[in-house]
């Protein structure tokens, strides 16, 4: 029974870790997207992607919080387990902090830069383009949504701090300095359990990869044909 119990524990810990890993990925994604706002590669598409990523982040955040609080409130878990959950909790809260900051930055910049280009140009464009106005309306709605979501996240984090009493400073990192140089996945979750995201990021690269694949196969075929010809000739 003990072995089974620990197995169950491990499994739930793995689930937690997987959820965290997912949230981490979304946060990294979001960071990359937010950085490009207002820059030279800004576009309407970017806004869409931002929105989607945000939604994913929210869902994952709630899921993580629910799962972790269950374990942290459970007084019957062993000391080692508790230490591990506290560590995961600190990872979670730090991730949420980063997400919240990025969301606020996105809001601020979104209010200043509309649509694909810089403010001046956008204003010039909007005078001519009615469709663009419609888009900018969507933008406004989106920004409002964003603001609400930010507030929600902020409230959630405050609530978390009140209810779950985990002293951050007592958590010791498992990773030593320089651990990022190793190629293994950090949290320790198996790659099978991970939710794969980033399809949108990969979309551009997928096309290039596809092209590369096609060209490669083409070259291969040509090489084979040439070889056959050479053999035939000789």
């Amino acid at each position: 029974v003990g072995k089974q119990g620990s197995q169950i524990e491990d499994k739930t810990q793995e689930e937690c870790r997987a959820l965290l890993e997912a949230l981490n990925k979304v946060a990294a994604c979001y960071r990359h997207l937010v950085v490009t706002i207002g820059g030279t590669s800004d576009s309407q598409n970017l806004r869409e992607e931002l929105k989607k990523t945000r939604k994913k982040a929210q869902d994952l955040a709630v899921a993580n919080r629910n799962k972790l609080t269950v374990f942290l409130k459970d007084k019957t878990i062993s000391k080692d387990d508790r230490v591990e959950y506290e560590r995961l909790w600190v990872i979670f809260t730090t991730c949420m902090e980063i997400l919240e900051v990025d969301m606020r930055k996105a809001l601020e910049m979104g209010q200043e830069f509309h649509g694909g280009t810089t403010g001046v140009a956008a204003r010039a464009m909007s005078a001519q383009n009615m469709k663009y106005e419609a888009d900018s309306n969507i933008d406004v709605v989106d920004l409002k949504d964003l603001e609400n979501e930010i507030n929600q996240v902020g409230e959630m984090m405050m609530e978390m701090e009140m209810k779950v009493n985990v002293p951050n400073w007592t958590v010791e990192a498992k990773q030593d300095p320089g651990a990022e140089l190793q190629s293994t996945i950090s949290v320790g979750a198996s790659s099978v359990g991970m939710i794969s995201l980033n399809e949108q990021n990969k979309s551009v690269c997928d096309i290039t990869r596809l092209l590369a694949g096609i060209i490669f196969t083409a070259v291969l075929i040509i090489a084979v044909v040439l070889a056959v010809l050479v053999i035939q000739l000789s």
């Binding site: 730090t94 991730c95 810089t118 902020g154 951050n168």
Partner: protein
């Protein structure tokens, strides 16, 4: 947590420089941008330094120099970054390439460059460069690893993930992003010079201290403190002249100064309200001079009057003339603390040690520990009994309730109250009178059974030359006020200061104590008779009678006089009054080496001589007149004042 976003509002307007930068980027009216090739990558939207300068000069109609200045500012703040020499944050007026920084990385005050982000950046760079970071980056990395260690797992996770996500982007985009990020951190975490580091370190250090002190402050629940205020208000409501009026009347309204007269500090009969206040707590009693007077009467009856006397002396030291601190401290020591002192107070050994050590370098608060001890003693012990005592009850009965002033139209006689100068003189006279007429603070019997080392005093055998004892000049001359301990607030704890400043005295104390104990046996035999005999009980009874002219500090010496009249040496060595000049007390540390050596020689002679002196030599009560009656030898050696541990060798030899 870093909720720096709390309370953040949308910026009302853009900073002018940002507006300018935005204009620069305008596709129509902005700077001409091109796609540059750097090595194998094509960099979009790059521009040359000279183009930027030209644009600035044209748009703002400023001179070459001004444009150069402005351009440098723009680069240094991070709105534009150089591509070829990233660390050189200047606008070169040539073909060097620059790019606009993305708004995410613009410097704003709302979003200060965060440690977590910097750590993630360094970790990413570590991955990218396969562990090869610059020196200052390595230092920062290690420092951050220590500082935000609890976040480190996340930092590694996020760094790896951001790196991976970056790799999945188009090469051009990825390169651009890396440049942008690098530029941002070069602006916000530049390779720091040592001087700047020191400044920030001292700032951080003082921050740390401040936070530590804040943590140490005791906290009280608001419900508790509110309850305290309510209780206080209820208790003092009747006593507040503004809230409840005052009897006989408010002098400001009726011009009748009776209220002030009746409530003078040392009035003969206090008012009932005033006496009632003494019952609230000990502090009220001891703060009121009239209350102290009454309390002192009571204490005398209990033979612990020296406690209040000591307390008052401490207050005088704390709040009195600071130029006389040394003399006052000496006097307090001689009167209250020295073994065999006239009004010896009973405090525990540890406090006594601390106090005596502190007296090496006397200052305002040197007696704090002892004073607190005595205060608590009085509060917990005597105060309760005082409240039940007949003295207090009598005072309470005699207390008056003034009648309300009858408003008369009669002619008023304006009499001025006595000048404060005169009042002060009167006070001092009264004090001096009280001091001279004070009956003895008869110490309890049990004191005598305690430190037998007292006996060593009377033998005059002090510590011999101990090889380790230094002289006075070796004392570290530290001024108490300058020692700041990390955990103390504005006023460093005087006790700890005193301890800090006298590290070497401990050895001497120990040396002296050990010596004293070894010499006891020779005298103990002689005195055992007196101590154990039932003359002690009779002596105590005798002691209870009020002594009017006596100046004896300890009845112990009277015992000895009774018990061993054959050794008048004790009697002559007993403390005399006035305390300043004649009591002899044991020097506490070895800085008196030479003095004591000569003294011990003298004293050994003295022994022999003394035996010959007839016992009808009057010893009790010991007055200054009596001293003259004693033999000249006695006079010489007893002329020597109390040897205070901090006194100069020269002073000591003067005796």
């Amino acid at each position: 947590s870093q909720h720096k976003a709390q309370g953040r509002k949308q910026t009302p307007g853009r900073a002018p420089i940002e507006a300018l930068v935005m204009e620069m980027q305008d596709p129509n009216a902005g700077i001409k941008m091109q796609t540059q090739r750097l090595v194998i990558t094509a960099i979009p939207h790059a521009m040359t330094g000279s183009d930027i300068l030209a644009w600035l000069m044209n748009r703002l109609q400023i001179s070459d120099e001004e444009a150069q200045n402005l351009g440098n500012q723009v680069v240094q703040h991070g709105y534009i970054y150089p591509l070829q020499e990233p660390k050189n944050l200047l606008l070169r007026p040539d073909g060097s390439l620059y790019r606009f920084q993305t708004p995410y990385f613009w410097p704003t005050q709302h979003w200060p460059a965060e440690e977590t982000d910097y750590a993630i950046y360094l970790a990413k760079k570590n991955i990218r460069k396969k562990g090869i970071l610059e020196d200052y980056e390595k230092e920062n990395y290690n420092a951050l690893n220590k500082k935000i260690n609890h976040k480190w797992d996340f930092i590694v996770m996020q760094a790896k993930e951001q790196y991976r996500a970056g790799k999945e982007r188009k090469k051009g985009d990825r390169f651009v992003f890396e440049c942008q990020e690098r530029a941002y951190w070069l602006v916000h975490r530049p390779p720091v010079s040592n001087f700047q580091e020191l400044n920030s370190i001292s700032e951080e250090f003082s921050l740390i201290i401040f936070n530590q002190q804040s943590l140490m402050r005791s906290r009280v629940k608001s419900s508790v403190s509110l309850g305290g205020i309510v209780k206080y208000s209820e208790q003092y409501l009747k006593h507040d002249p503004i809230m409840s009026g005052c009897l006989p009347s408010n002098p400001w309204l009726t011009d009748d100064t009776k209220f002030w007269e009746l409530n003078m500090p040392l009035v003969e009969t206090p008012t009932k309200l005033r006496v009632e206040r003494w019952t609230f707590n000990f502090r009220e009693l001891i703060r009121d001079p009239r209350g102290r007077q009454d309390f002192q009467l009571f204490l005398r009856k209990e033979f612990s009057g020296e406690n209040l006397g000591f307390w008052e002396a401490c207050e005088d030291l704390k709040y009195g003339d600071q130029s006389k601190v040394k003399e006052k401290a000496e006097e307090v020591y001689k009167t209250f603390l020295a073994p065999g002192a006239r009004r010896w107070i009973n405090i525990d050994g540890k406090t006594m040690d601390i106090t005596v050590k502190g007296l090496q370098n006397p200052h305002r608060y040197v007696l704090d520990a002892a004073q607190t001890h005595i205060y608590m003693l009085m509060k917990k012990d005597s105060y309760g009994r005082y409240m039940k005592s007949p003295i207090f009850k009598e005072t309470m009965n005699k207390a008056i309730v003034p009648e309300v002033t009858k408003f008369t139209f009669s002619k008023r006689y304006w009499k001025s109250s006595p000048s404060p100068v005169i009042l002060r003189q009167q006070e001092e006279e009264a004090k001096a009178k009280a001091a001279t007429n004070a009956p003895m603070d008869i110490t309890q019997l049990c004191k005598y059974t305690a430190p037998v080392s007292h006996l060593a005093v009377y033998t005059g055998i002090c510590e011999p030359t101990s090889p380790t004892s230094p002289t006075l000049c070796e004392f570290p001359p530290s001024s108490p006020g300058l020692v700041t301990l990390p955990n103390s607030a504005a006023c460093p704890s005087p006790i700890s200061v005193a301890i800090e400043s006298t590290p070497s005295s401990k050895r001497k104390l120990e040396a002296s104590n050990s010596v004293a104990s070894t010499h006891i046996p020779s005298i103990a035999e002689a005195t055992e008779v007196s101590v154990s005999s039932n003359s002690s009980t009779t002596a105590v009874e005798e002691a209870r009678q009020p002594l009017q002219k006596s100046r004896m500090a300890l009845s112990f010496s009277r015992f000895l006089k009774r018990g061993c009249s054959n050794s008048p040496v004790f009697a002559t060595l007993s403390p005399k009054c006035p305390s300043v000049n004649s009591s002899r007390v044991q020097p506490l540390d070895g800085d008196q080496q030479q003095v004591t050596q000569t003294k011990s020689k003298k004293i050994t002679n003295f022994f022999q001589i003394k035996v010959d002196i007839p016992s009808e030599c009057r010893i009790y009560p010991i007055d200054s007149e009596d001293e003259e009656e004693d033999g000249p030898n006695v006079a010489k050696s007893t002329e020597k004042e109390v040897i205070c541990p901090w006194e100069n060798l020269a002073e000591g030899k003067a005796g």
